[in-house]
């Protein structure tokens, strides 16, 4: 029986189509092996077909993106002997946005003997993801987490150390053990530099060819299999085709659909979206994470929001004045007139509740009029009791770079007054659907890191993004990619003279020319900002049916205007950042609509997807496991408004489905 369903929003009153108690969709084969989960990955590594060392050099692999996932995958594939070609739109592979991750990376090392284990990390991740992830993938992630720490330490990642020389750990939201490894507040930077250095080593060795300043604008599929990509050189405008036996997308998340987010300015969905339009299903696009600790916006022209690492919640206490009209400064408000709402509502986890819980509570406090700061759009994160308990020096040692960053942006010193924080879009759990091998629904096309949907379910725990990116790149994809490649030994890659390539190239060239020919009246940023407003308003921290339906009617209208009235100046044959942006925003329009449709069809609340119609009496997310314990994989239906839904049902054999509680 097929689980293909029509998009439900055409008849809003009809009961949402959901595969009640169904088996997995006949279209989607997750390829999860049989057997007990503890040995599954080990056994599967043995069962998969291998490509012999002398044959690896006969396979060409293209990797798009050089963040943690892309750089680690490309470096490892190069070490193994594959011919790897890497494309990044950045001017050097080291600029990818993984570099901005601050807090840390989880691993089940149990170096501190506080009861951690692979099973506990697996359990916490499934539970933290609100039971919307695939158990087999998550267990594998927890297993390889320990290898990542070993690998990175050996590469020279300067992790924080205890005085005895052993690795230090800190705790993070959603966990009751201390399992997060870190390098000051720059863990992402250091891990990325480690992967980048490994990549440059392979570049020097000749096994990896790196093309910087080149953006992938299409995937080419021949006879149902990925055959290569079309890229545009951003400085010369030249459009070229590149073929390979396999294509790996490691192109990050799509939080910039909200315009204001903590992502870097160039982060976009284009590579994944182009693959989606060529047949790769897009799963759970509505699962977006709002990070609880960002600096609140100061005005309308702000270009991005800056995140303050969640690790700050280890030592900072979150509060708002009990009296919303309290005009005193924070330091003058006595203890008994402060509302430490997380500590009060969640005694067991306190300020360390998972991100979605922390974010929604902040929104609830601000919406109820308790917001602080000049625009009353934040809550306090206060370090005064940590300064008293540990001494200023110890606390500064942990967070000095974050404190400095905060002061640089706001002009305020956290030693004098508490930080102001508010949630902001930060990470997207949704992404291209992949099987256990990290292959999309297009054979030969893989997707790793944040760009795929795999391991975090409906919500990602802190310090788990770095873990997943590196797990996919160092320890999963390099094994699994051989299984499918083994079928193609001896086959040359498709010639780039093939009609599919020339056609795709022509389409990219025409599309580029079309944007320049519109000569409308409004800038790309103007349209992006307007789209962002719709998305944040109706598909942000809390969603409801009426709002989502409104967004679904507004987005196509705005897109139509965008296609008629956008103004892109300059030419296609030199560096032109407006031209780069316009393509990305065009794809955000289509993705945004799909996000809203996905959010509308999912008549439940789970993790980062909060439907106000579905909440407990205490205002917590209320799942509907009977009808929605599945991953929603959307197939491109020929136009943005006509996607087809496929469901991969999720079974929970090891972690019991429970109402998530952090009380």
């Amino acid at each position: 029986m097929t689980e293909t369903m029509p998009p439900p929003m055409t008849t809003p009153e009809s009961p949402t189509a959901a595969p009640a108690g169904s088996a997995a969709s006949s279209v989607l084969d997750s390829k999860v092996p049989d057997g007990p989960i503890e040995n599954m990955w080990t056994q599967h590594k043995f069962d998969m077909r291998l490509v012999a060392p002398h044959n690896k050099r006969r396979f060409d692999i293209i990797v798009i993106g050089t963040g943690l996932a892309g750089a680690s995958a490309a470096a490892t594939l190069g070490e193994l002997g594959y011919n790897v070609t890497v494309f990044t739109f950045h001017d050097t592979p080291r600029r990818a946005h993984s570099i901005a991750a601050q807090g840390g990376i989880n691993a089940a090392k149990n170096y501190h003997g506080d009861g951690d284990s692979i099973f506990r990390l697996f359990y916490d991740t499934v539970k933290g993801g609100d039971f919307r992830s695939r158990e087999a993938n998550v267990h594998r992630l927890a297993e390889v987490s320990n290898n990542i720490i070993d690998q990175c330490a050996a590469q020279g990642v300067p992790f924080a150390r205890e005085y005895g020389g052993m690795l230090a750990n800190r705790s993070f939201g959603g966990a009751q053990v201390s399992r997060t490894f870190y390098a000051r507040g720059q863990t992402g930077q250091q891990l990325l530099l480690g992967a980048y250095q490994a990549l440059m080593r392979q570049s020097a060795a000749g096994s990896v060819t790196i093309h910087t300043g080149m953006e992938m604008l299409d995937v080419v599929v021949v006879d149902g299999r990925a055959a290569g990509v079309v890229v545009r050189d951003l400085t010369t405008g030249e459009v070229t085709s590149h073929s390979a036996h396999a294509v790996v997308l490691a192109t990050g998340g799509y939080s910039n659909v909200f315009y204001l987010s903590t992502n870097a300015m160039a982060c976009n969905v284009t590579a994944a979206w182009r693959a989606h339009r060529k047949g790769a299903f897009f799963a759970n696009p509505c699962y977006t994470q709002i990070h609880p600790t960002c600096i609140p916006a100061s005005d309308e022209f702000q270009s991005k929001l800056t995140l303050m690492s969640e690790s700050l919640r280890n030592d900072g206490r979150i509060w708002v004045p009990a009296n919303p009209d309290d005009a005193r400064s924070a330091r003058e408000i006595p203890e008994e007139e402060r509302h430490y709402y997380l500590e009060e509502r969640y005694p067991a986890f306190g300020n360390l509740v998972p991100r979605d819980v922390a974010s929604r509570n902040a929104k609830e406090r601000v919406d109820s009029g308790h917001g602080i700061g000049p625009l009353r759009n934040g809550v306090f994160l206060d370090f005064s009791s940590a300064f008293e308990r540990l001494g200023t020096e110890v606390v500064d040692d942990r967070y000095s770079n974050l404190f400095e960053m905060y002061e640089r942006i706001t002009g305020e010193d956290v030693h004098d007054r508490p930080m102001r924080i508010y949630p902001a879009p930060h990470y997207t759990m949704g992404g291209l659907w992949v099987d256990y091998h990290l292959m999309t629904t297009v054979p030969g096309l893989y997707c790793i890191g944040e760009a795929n949907f795999s391991d975090h379910g409906a919500n990602r725990l802190g310090a788990s993004a770095l873990m997943q990116g590196l797990a996919d790149g160092y320890f999963v994809l390099p094994y699994t990619i051989g299984d499918e490649l083994a079928d193609h030994l001896g086959e040359p890659p498709v010639d780039t003279g093939h009609r599919a390539f020339t056609q795709a190239e022509q389409e990219v060239t025409d599309r580029t020319a079309r944007w320049l020919s519109i000569q409308g009246t409004r800038s790309v940023d103007w349209f992006h900002r307007e789209l962002g407003k719709i998305m944040w308003e109706h598909c942000g921290m809390a969603r409801d049916r009426a709002g989502l339906e409104k967004a679904i009617s507004e987005i196509p209208a705005l897109r139509e205007e965008f296609e008629k009235d956008v103004r892109v100046l300059g030419s296609a044959d030199s560096l032109n950042s407006s031209l780069e942006k316009v393509q990305r925003v065009a794809d955000f329009f289509e993705l945004g609509e799909l996000m809203c449709r996905d959010a509308l069809h999912r008549e439940e609340s789970c993790g980062g997807h909060f439907r106000t119609e579905h909440q407990t009496e205490e205002g917590e997310a209320k799942r509907d496991d009977d009808n929605f314990a599945y991953a929603a994989a959307w197939e491109w239906g020929g136009s943005p408004g006509a996607p087809n839904l496929h469901a991969e049902s999720l079974e929970f054999a090891y972690v019991k489905l429970t109402q998530r509680s952090y009380k």
Partner: protein, 249 residues
């Protein structure tokens, strides 16, 4: 505030460049320097003029993509601050601001304020890594590293590769960048096996692309991550040792 900008415009690597004077009125104090440029660009587009190209990405001072000369200073007047983290509250109403790209022969201009910094990648390729294939590492705690050593290595590793050191240097030298990358790895026990090879390789490639260090210390003053020139001393020492050792061998 109302400002007058003098911005370097150059259509391409071989095209002649010139300063364009642009009025930037009604700029918010809380805007960042790059948000000010965003606004200027939106207005240019409204007037049908091509926007100013400048490199930028994370806008939180960590990716190292941004960087321009502001009134002759790399990353502008605020210490330890990348261009994207510089805020307009550091300027005054009526200021004239000269904005130029990094000027160094190692960094050819691509367009307007954007330069090509790929020479930094070439330096890393020449040994800026520890050779350890994926999967071959031992347990991470088997190699204890004293906290002070790890911290010092981290001080060096904090380099964001923006190139301000080169732009600030009257000789266009890249010693601060190369020394930070070297010190990060040369200080760690894991980095010892390739220490001499790494030092000779990276210094060699550095000298192909960049000028020589004559201790002006401008690099340290311009560095948004406050990388210390002590690392340059370490580079010189390591280079001398490696050179002597390689002659002996």
């Amino acid at each position: 505030m109302n400002l007058t900008l003098h911005v370097w415009r150059q259509a391409g690597p071989r095209a002649p460049g010139r300063f364009q004077t642009i009025k930037a009125d009604d700029i918010e104090q809380d805007a960042s320097f790059l948000e000010m440029l965003d606004l200027v660009n939106e207005r240019l587009i409204e007037q049908g003029e091509e926007p100013i190209e400048f490199a930028h990405d994370c806008r939180e001072g960590i990716c190292g993509t941004c960087g321009v000369m502001i009134n002759g200073q790399a990353h502008g007047p605020e210490r330890a601050t990348a261009t994207c983290q510089l805020h307009m509250r550091k300027f005054s109403d009526g200021d004239e601001i000269v904005i130029e790209p990094w000027r160094a022969s190692g960094f050819p201009i691509v367009k307007d304020l954007v330069v090509d910094r790929s020479a930094f990648d070439r330096i890393i390729e020449a040994g800026g890594y520890i050779s350890v294939d994926t999967g071959s590492a031992q347990d991470a705690n088997l190699v204890p590293i004293p906290k002070d050593t790890a911290d010092l290595s981290m001080d060096a590793a904090a380099c964001i590769g923006c190139g301000a050191c080169v732009a600030a240097c009257p000789n266009g030298a890249a010693q601060l960048f190369a020394s930070a990358k070297l010190a990060h790895l040369n200080l760690l026990p894991q980095g010892q096996a390739e220490r001499a090879y790494r030092t000779l390789g990276m210094v060699g490639v550095m000298e192909e692309h960049f000028g020589s260090c004559t201790n002006h210390r401008e690099c340290e003053a311009a560095c948004p991550k406050e990388i210390s020139i002590d690392f340059i001393a370490m580079l010189n020492r390591d280079w001398l040792k490696a050179t002597v050792a390689s002659r002996r061998a």
